[in-house]
């Protein structure tokens, strides 16, 4: 109890340092870590730290042995986050900003504020939609409910949204932002009084601490400047490093070596004033520090880095050091994206501890008061993590744009303007960017219904497929770009590695997982190895990734749209072959693409002229001229983000009818020729596309026009990719089974012809392969290739009619 000078709510001002004492700095982490920090509670239950700003009872009013309840019985806990430990340094450089209302810390004022806070308890926020308020009745006073929760749960932390404070009392809010060090303790006091008034019997481990969050608008790390020092700020960023736990000494315990007299010295600004003389026996320099009996608090250094989204181009991200104290230690992991509310600090650096000349530079850090993970929801919910905030005007412009009748065409042409034409492909990609509506059928056993549209582009090399992919990758916030050539299965999914720092096995996620809720662009899809491609099967339909590696078995979300580009196997597209034959991809995979487009070089003069004009103008038009013509990328990005976040269209009655009709029609086309031309997968694709199209219009309802466009686009894509080159008909079975129905029919015919040939030969158990082929060729009116003959033989051997051994064909039975 070294400091009797404590003011309610104020900071400790007096220093009882004996002028003769020798100062030495306390190196907390050089003490042997015997688990002190965790084992010794910061404040032993019965010894209330009187110097704490939170303590305002007089020592005499506390009676030992009373049941631990009520304000006085519950120990306060130091708040190192507010600087009760690392206070103003010796050279007092970071003192309070020259304040107009310097009386902010005065008692009268504090009391006044204290009273002001009470009505906040009645604050009601019916519009609240925050996740942490779940389970609370929105029409009741919000914070009273939270206090009730505290009394039940026993976790003495009250998070206060600064926006609530602002809407409640702007002046109080201003004070909170400017003088957090003084104002927050007053908050604590008020809350504790209120709490113990309402719940006099509840027992808490220590007094409630108020944690404000959401100060001002969330700010970018880059905008921090010297004016923010000692103010309450909220910034966003990504955790890149966390240090080990650092036990920081709060109170040193000294014992005299001569008479065993003990004394406690509080740490002040990182220093301990070692008593030079023992007060009991007056021996000089006889006191020794006993660490086991000293008090420590937990502290952790966390480094955060600017998130890549809010950085100007061409600069490197900034980093900031953050100190977490007590129970905030180990709350975040490297890689987390978080919003931090805390007090910004600057401490002068000493060039050399032994010299006193100060480097004219400060070290800055943030003492964290509140963490909020921004990507937490991503793990649990289905919502887009990006709570991208749009200004009123922006929303207005977006809505105006959406109201235009040609918005669909406009957006499509704004997509990759440097790539010429290919309107339908751009439209397809546009719909992919918007995506369908997420539906959950897990009750009926179906699981999640895929809402993302997958697109495959194939075509001649040099038709700017890669460019389109690059554009999309640059457009979407969570996009990944990989090349089939350079990626392995683990690069796409996840791999387990040993973290060099913690030596633990950690799961490193690959492109598909990273692009969850985004688009994964895969170039040179055809060059991908089979094993790599096989992981795509699960991702493209179930939208999850199952991993069983090094003892880690899990299923990760991979709700990603796949935009892939493939080159034909013969480097040039062969119009005489089917899509499957041209790109040599397994049909199981192809059927998972909603749209497959061919990017071919159309050969006609008018097209050539337009193309030439487009290209030449690309090379001489100035930047401004082009921008006038098209919507810029930022606008497009905002438009998509807005639609993805806020628009969730549902099928209207007419639209469902139209979809049913469309599907039945598609099935009918095929049935006339004895083949199936549509599968349920195609119906699902149609639904997704229609939903995406209504999202483009900012419409909450899928209408017939959406279905019409979906049908048109789907047909267009099919026409390109599923046309049987032999008959000219669109045949879906090319994509679903890898073989067109006519091809299958012909194979049957050849087999029958071969059977006849063999039967005509009479009783010959074995025949020469070549002679049989010759015979068949003579018999048949169409040309029989060797492949067709082989296929026919295989078909017959499947029927157990014959077997082929080497060059001889034997009849069975």
């Amino acid at each position: 109890m070294s400091s009797p000078l404590s003011t309610p709510g104020g900071r400790k001002r007096g220093r009882t340092t004996n002028p003769s004492t020798r100062e030495f700095t306390c190196p907390p982490s050089t003490w042997p870590q015997v688990g002190v920090s965790r084992l010794v509670p910061t404040v032993p239950p019965n010894e209330v730290d009187m110097s704490s700003p939170l303590m305002y009872g007089t020592p005499s009013s506390r009676v030992e042995g009373t049941p631990r309840s009520g304000v006085r019985g519950t120990p306060a806990r130091q708040r190192p986050d507010l600087g009760s430990v690392s206070k103003a340094p010796q050279v007092d450089l970071q003192s309070e900003p020259p304040s107009a209302d310097g009386a902010v810390a005065s008692e009268a004022n504090a009391g006044q504020r204290h009273r002001k806070i009470f009505p906040l308890s009645l604050f009601i926020d019916p519009s609240s939609s925050e996740d942490e308020n779940t389970g609370l009745d929105l029409n009741e006073p919000l914070y009273m409910q939270k206090l009730e929760e505290i009394s039940v749960v026993g976790d003495p932390v009250l998070n206060v949204n600064c926006l609530h404070v602002q809407s409640f009392d702007a002046e109080l809010y201003r004070q909170l932002i400017c003088y957090p060090q003084e104002v927050i303790p007053t908050f604590d006091m008020a809350v504790n009084e209120l709490f113990f008034e309402r719940f006099p019997d509840s027992i808490l481990e220590y007094q409630i601490q108020v944690r404000p969050y959401n100060a001002l608008k969330t700010r970018n790390m880059r905008n921090l400047n010297p004016e923010d020092i000692d103010q309450l700020i909220t910034i966003s960023g990504m955790v890149i490093r966390t240090s080990q736990l650092i036990p920081e000494m709060q109170e040193a315990f000294f014992q005299c070596q001569v008479c065993a007299f003990s004394t406690r010295v509080e740490v002040d600004r990182g220093r301990i004033a070692e008593p030079a003389v023992c007060r009991h026996c007056n021996t000089t320099h006889s006191l020794a520090l006993v660490h086991n009996r000293s008090l420590f608090s937990d502290k952790q250094m966390i480094k955060i880095q600017e998130s890549p989204d809010d950085m100007p181009a061409g600069q490197t991200p900034h980093t900031t050091v953050v100190y977490a104290h007590n129970d905030l230690v180990d709350k975040v992991q490297p890689g987390d994206r978080i919003n931090i509310t805390g007090v910004y600090r600057a401490v002068p650096m000493r060039a050399n501890p032994r010299q006193s000349n100060v480097k004219s530079v400060y070290k800055t850090h943030i003492d964290v008061i509140h963490f909020r993970k921004t990507d937490e929801k991503r793990l649990h919910g289905l919502d887009d993590a990006e709570q991208k905030l749009f200004t009123e005007e922006r929303v207005q412009t977006l809505k105006e744009l959406a109201a235009k009748p040609d918005v669909y065409e406009r957006l499509a042409s704004a997509l990759a303007p440097s790539i010429y034409e290919h309107e339908d492909i751009k439209k397809g990609i546009l719909l992919q960017l918007f995506g369908g509506t997420r539906k959950d059928f897990s009750q009926t056993g179906r699981g999640n219904f895929r809402a993302d549209v997958n697109i495959l582009l194939c075509g001649d090399p040099g038709t700017s497929k890669s460019q389109l992919l690059q554009y999309v990758f640059n457009l979407v916030p969570r996009g990944q770009y990989t090349s089939g050539k350079g990626s392995s299965a683990v690069g796409l999914t996840a791999y387990v590695m040993k973290d060099p720092e913690t030596r633990q096995l950690v799961l490193q996620t690959g492109a598909l997982v990273l692009s969850d809720n985004g688009i994964c662009c895969i170039d040179e899809f055809d060059k991908m190895s089979d094993s790599t491609r096989s992981v795509l099967h699960e991702v493209m339909e179930q939208q999850t990734l199952s991993i069983a590696k090094a003892g880690i078995i899990c299923q990760l979300n991979a709700r990603t749209s796949v935009l892939a580009a493939a080159n034909p196997i013969e480097s040039q597209w062969n119009p005489k072959k089917t899509t499957i034959e041209n790109i040599q991809l397994p049909h199981t995979l192809l059927s998972r693409f909603d749209l497959i487009f061919l990017m071919l070089d159309p050969q006609d003069e008018a097209y050539d002229r337009r193309l030439a004009h487009h290209l030449v103008s690309l090379y001489y038009q100035s930047e401004e001229q082009l921008e006038e013509e098209f919507l810029d990328m930022a606008m497009l990005r905002d438009y998509i983000a807005y639609a993805r976040t806020y628009i969730n269209p549902k099928l209207s009655e007419e639209a469902s009818q139209a979809l049913i009709e469309a599907y039945v029609d598609m099935r009918k086309i095929g049935s006339g020729r004895g083949m199936v031309s549509a599968y349920p997968r195609q119906l699902e694709s149609l639904i997704r596309l229609a939903e995406a199209h209504s999202k483009v219009r900012f419409s909450e309802k899928v209408e017939t026009i959406d279905v019409e466009e979906a049908k048109r686009l789907h047909r267009e894509a099919l026409k390109q990719s599923a046309t049987d080159p032999r008959t000219g008909f669109v045949d879906i079975s090319i994509l679903t089974t890898g073989m067109s129905a006519t091809a299958r029919k012909r194979r049957e015919e050849v087999a029958q012809a071969l059977k006849k040939v063999i039967q005509a030969k009479g009783k010959t158990p074995a025949m020469k392969y070549h002679t049989l082929l010759e015979d068949l060729r003579r018999q048949s009116e169409t040309a029989i290739t060797k492949e067709m003959f082989d296929e026919a033989l295989r078909a017959l051997s499947d029927e157990d009619y014959l077997t082929v051994t080497g060059k001889t064909v034997r009849l069975l039975a």
């Binding site: 401490v347 890669s466 002229r609 030449v616």
Partner: protein, 622 residues
């Protein structure tokens, strides 16, 4: 030393000082008075004097808050002095002085700068020959002069002034305040340093990685402190900086301490030793430079007027433009000789060397012209000799032998090191218009490992999109670049390229060895300088296409497609437009003429027919 005059509290001085220096530097030849950190060894430069540095921003550190102004109180006299912390690293106060709280905090940014990577030796040579050699007497003259401009000099400094004059030679001098606030050991420390510095510079550089993008580079690197408009600077930018040199040994003291002592410092305790080593390296190795004025360098060719072409340098421009055609002819002849008598390849080489990414459309960089020179003879290290010739002509270049070892082990892509909190440089962190020479003839059989595959992908991305994705471990960040990539290979390159040309040797194989031995005979210095100027000027010219030419180009395209749709694709037109642009520029024409278009078409046709031919000769060429 003019820093001395800045202790005056009058508020407008900062702007005035900067304006003053800007004015002075505008004067003719003014910049040649200022010693350059590039070519004067650090220990010859006086601390706190004005120096310039031609450098490349390799990394950007976190912003610093420093004491803008502060008040120091001398306890013995109780005299208060208001001081200024701008352009300084260390506060000026004695052991017992205390600082008053009336401190103004200000912000500054620190950039880590290295000399321009891959700068050719001739650039260094020429730019240093144009410099005033720094001997103490000459460097004194301008500073004396400048001092007289600053009337408001405060008395504290006048009495330190003579002290300074007494030790003008001490390279690592503890500067003005040595007798005033340094403790004895500090003084001794810096004396020792002073003796060691010249010799130990190379030796100590080895234990301290100075983070040069290219291996084998040397030269001073510095920490540049920027006080205003820091947002205007970009990573990988080449700038010429004028600033105040600070080599106070007090800064190095930090680095000298080992990790344990740094823990004693309550404030610095959380910084890892590694981070400290990187962020506060000894000032004798990495001096601090407090920026007064900087200008971006559009090029680093010392033969050209530094101001760039757009500033009323019309006299210079018109005279060079007139000569361009003639110089081009000479250069073509020279390249033809070098490229074994192949005039067409020489033509393309010129086009490649004057190419430049002039703008970007969405993701598409326009104006790049990556050349793949296939069919390079594998004998007598042709590619290496060839590179040396290129190096003689371009201001900065780098030779990357694509050996298996290089590809598997080199760090091409810069990577963020979170332990030391810096960007570890890689060979692809290059300044604008650097020539990157990829020697694929070095490729041998073997397996590329993960790093190798990543490196090849990075090279491919660089060529196709002119960007490098820097590795920030949790995410990647894309940095656009503008690098001329030339690939020399035997067959077709495994990397993409804008244009491939197969070298046709006019020299009979038996003579090849002897011939190659002879190609390295350099032209005369004056001619070389002409070539160097030519290439740099041509790259910077503006270019436009008139409407009527546009029309005829479109017609041409449509006609060609009509004859044979297979003959020309959109990609070919892209290339032809670039070729036409570069061809016009190489002739000194700033707009496309009908003639140049036809010539471009002709050259392309020749190249294509050669490729066809080549395809017929060896069928494995795709």
């Amino acid at each position: 030393m003019f820093a001395a005059s800045q202790n005056t509290p009058n508020s407008g001085w900062a702007a005035k000082a900067v304006a003053f220096f800007k004015d002075r530097l505008k004067e003719k030849d003014a910049h040649t008075w200022v010693p350059s950190l590039n070519d004067v060894p650090l220990h010859y430069l006086k601390p706190n004097s004005l120096v310039k540095f031609r450098c490349f921003i390799q990394d950007m550190f976190d912003p610093e808050f420093y004491m803008g102004t502060y008040e120091a109180v001398d306890p013995s006299t109780k005299a208060k002095v208001l001081r200024c912390g701008k352009y300084k690293d260390v506060t000026e106060c004695g052991v017992s002085t205390t600082l008053e709280p009336s401190t103004m905090t200000a912000e500054r940014h620190t950039f880590y700068c290295v000399p321009i990577p891959g700068e050719s030796p001739w650039v260094k040579e020429i730019s240093s020959s144009g410099q005033a050699r720094v001997v103490p007497s000459t460097s004194y003259a301008p500073t004396r002069q400048k001092r007289s401009y600053e009337e408001d000099d405060d008395d504290m400094d006048t009495d330190t002034q003579p002290q300074k004059q007494r030790e003008p030679h001490t390279g690592m001098s503890c500067c003005r305040n040595s007798g005033y606030f340094f403790q004895p050991h500090g003084n001794g420390d810096c004396k020792r340093r002073e003796k060691e510095a010249p010799s130990s510079q190379a030796a100590s550089a080895s234990h301290l990685d100075l983070n040069f993008p290219l291996p084998g580079e040397k030269g001073p690197s510095c920490l540049l402190k920027v006080y205003e408009e820091w947002d205007g600077f970009k990573l990988n930018e080449a700038v010429e900086v004028f600033g105040i040199l600070s080599v106070s040994p007090a800064l190095s003291a930090l680095a000298d301490e080992d990790a344990s002592s740094s823990l004693l410092d309550p404030a610095g305790g959380m910084e890892t030793a590694e981070e400290q080593r990187v962020h506060s390296p000894p000032a004798s190795l990495v001096p601090r430079l407090h920026m007064l004025h900087a200008k971006p360098l559009p090029h680093n060719n010392p033969l050209l007027p530094a101001a760039g072409l757009e500033d009323n340098n019309s006299a210079f421009l018109s005279s060079t433009l007139r000569e361009m055609a003639a110089v081009r002819a000479e250069l073509l002849a020279y390249f033809t000789h070098v490229l074994l008598g192949d005039a067409l390849a020489a033509e393309y080489l010129i086009l490649h060397l004057v190419s430049n990414v002039y703008t970007r459309r969405d993701v598409l960089p326009l104006g790049k012209f990556t050349l793949n020179l296939s069919g390079c003879p594998a004998v007598a290290s042709f590619t290496e000799r060839f590179y040396q010739i290129i190096q003689q002509l371009v201001p900065s270049s780098y030779y990357l032998g694509m050996t298996l070892q290089n590809m598997n082990q080199m760090r091409l892509v810069p990577k963020k090191d979170y332990v030391a909190n810096r960007l570890l440089s890689g060979a692809l962190q290059l300044a604008t218009n650097t020539s990157l020479f990829l020697d694929e003839s070095q490729l041998e059989q073997g397996q590329l490992d993960t790093t190798g595959v990543r490196n090849v992908t990075a090279l491919g991305n660089l060529i196709s999109w002119q960007k490098v994705d820097y590795d920030f471990s949790y995410h990647q960040m894309e940095f656009p670049c503008n690098i001329n990539v030339l690939i020399a290979s035997e067959g077709r390159s495994l990397l993409p390229s804008d244009c491939q040309i197969h070298l046709q040797s006019q020299v009979a194989p038996p003579d090849l060895e002897a011939y190659l031995g002879g190609i390295q005979v350099h032209p005369q210095a004056s001619q070389l300088n002409k070539f160097r100027m030519y290439l740099s000027v041509a790259r910077q010219l503006d270019y436009s296409i008139a409407d009527e030419v546009t029309k005829s180009v479109e017609d041409d395209f449509v006609d060609m497609r009509k004859d044979d749709p297979q003959s020309i694709s959109a990609e070919d037109l892209h290339r032809m437009l670039v070729v036409a642009r570069l061809l016009s520029l190489s002739l000194g024409q700033t707009s496309l003429s009908r003639d140049s278009w036809l010539r471009a078409k002709h050259v392309e046709m020749l190249r294509r027919s050669r490729m066809e031919q080549n395809k017929c000769v060896n069928g494995n060429e795709p």
